[in-house]
């Protein structure tokens, strides 16, 4: 897609778009659309059976992206309730209209300036971020997909789906968090967060290699809480206190900087957030290693030696 900002850019951009379309799709038909500045990416999870029962499982916020690829998702979004209801019902209506079965997601672009949402596309598959919808609804989406594939009716009605939590997912990609260049090699240390309200999906283990040939995503870290602030607090603890990955670089420092950013906490962000705030986000990095841990132990021992046993000891 080519962005056009002024009338004189139209002919050149059209020629470029037609050429790319011809190479990619076999014809040079071009689509021109209004460009939505500061758009947000909202998608609605839907499940449907072959008896025309369609149920939405509410929406996910997938706005935080780098290079057009999602790295943080949350459910539900920070939309107002009436807008949430409208977008979810709209998605279910579309899936019913096309006779869809199984799990799928209807993607929308939300324009905060006009409070309008626009259809983008339907993802006819299980998405990476389905786990946070499972966390807020308590439903097993993969199980529902398998049941529907066997010809069973949906086990739920719309009224049964009542999200009662907020959930957050971050994608731990094996990448340099400053440049997004791939980082591959042996994982020399890997400790994953544990505890209540934490879910980890892992594609590699300590001692294994991250090869340069595949997608850089190797770990999904999800947290949930009674509200968004709670889910964020658990995620902060998971990324700072418990997570240890050594031998390769990951996006962890960037993810932590993002979830601590005042604008992210306030729900004030668009798909351009990372591009707009990258220097500021990078300046907040504090990567911890085994060396840091040894230093902390040494400081602790020095304090005890200097000050004597503390009152709590």
């Amino acid at each position: 897609m080519v962005r056009v900002d002024t009338p004189d850019q139209i002919p050149g951009a059209l020629a470029q778009a037609r050429s790319e379309a011809k190479k990619s799709f076999g014809n040079d038909t071009v689509l021109v659309e209004k460009y939505i500045e500061h758009g947000r990416h909202i998608e609605v999870q839907v499940v449907a059976d072959e008896y025309r029962h369609v149920v939405h499982l509410f929406e996910r916020e997938c706005t935080l992206q780098r290079r057009n690829q999602k790295i943080i998702e949350e459910a539900p979004s920070t939309l107002e309730n009436d807008l949430r209801q409208e977008i979810c019902v709209t998605a279910a209506r579309l899936m019913r209209r096309i006779g869809y079965t199984s799990a799928g997601a209807v993607e929308f672009l939300f324009d905060p300036a006009t409070q309008s949402f626009y259809f983008l596309e339907v993802n006819t598959r299980l998405q990476v971020e389905h786990g946070i919808t499972e966390l807020i609804t308590g439903l097993d989406i993969v199980g529902i997909m398998l049941d529907v594939a066997e010809g069973k009716p949906l086990p739920i009605k719309q009224i049964d789906v009542v999200p009662n939590r907020c959930a957050l997912e971050v994608r731990l990609n094996a990448e340099d968090p400053k440049t997004f260049g791939p980082s591959f090699g042996k994982i020399t240390r890997l400790r994953t967060p544990l505890g209540p309200n934490v879910r980890v999906l892992l594609g590699a283990a300590e001692g294994e290699d991250i090869p340069p040939y595949y997608d850089s995503l190797f770990m999904l870290l999800m947290t949930s809480g009674a509200d968004r602030a709670d889910a964020l607090r658990v995620m902060d603890r998971a990324l700072t206190g418990d997570l240890r990955i050594e031998g390769i670089k990951t996006l962890a420092p960037l993810l932590l900087s993002i979830i601590r950013h005042p604008k992210f906490i306030a729900g004030d962000f668009s798909t351009k957030f990372i591009d707009q705030h990258l220097p500021e986000l990078v300046s907040g990095f504090r990567e911890r290693t085994s060396e840091d841990e040894m230093l902390r132990v040494a400081q602790y021992v020095a304090e005890i030696s200097a000050l004597g046993p503390q009152s709590w000891m």
């Binding site: 897609m1 080519v2 799709f25 071009v30 057009n68 993607e107």
Partner: protein
């Protein structure tokens, strides 16, 4: 059917699902300027093809050297 962006938008419109204001089958700059004037559309705009990849090219998703760039937000 939903893999073709133009067709998908048409189905969405028929289902009363709002779509981004746009114009399809564009081949000349005049079509764009006429559309912007008639519909009172301001800059910026986006141009591009986003259809179904040709058969037999060994890939199943969207086109372009990097599908993530061809269809942002799909992954």
């Amino acid at each position: 059917m939903m893999g073709d962006k133009i067709q998908a938008k048409e189905i969405a419109r028929r289902s009363n699902v709002p779509t981004i204001p746009g114009i399809e089958n564009v081949t000349s700059p005049d079509q764009i300027t006429d559309w912007m004037r008639d519909q009172d559309i301001a800059f910026p705009i986006m141009q591009g093809g986003c259809g179904r990849r040709r058969q037999g090219d060994g890939q199943s998703r969207y086109a372009g050297s990097d599908p993530r760039r061809a269809c942002p937000g799909s992954f």
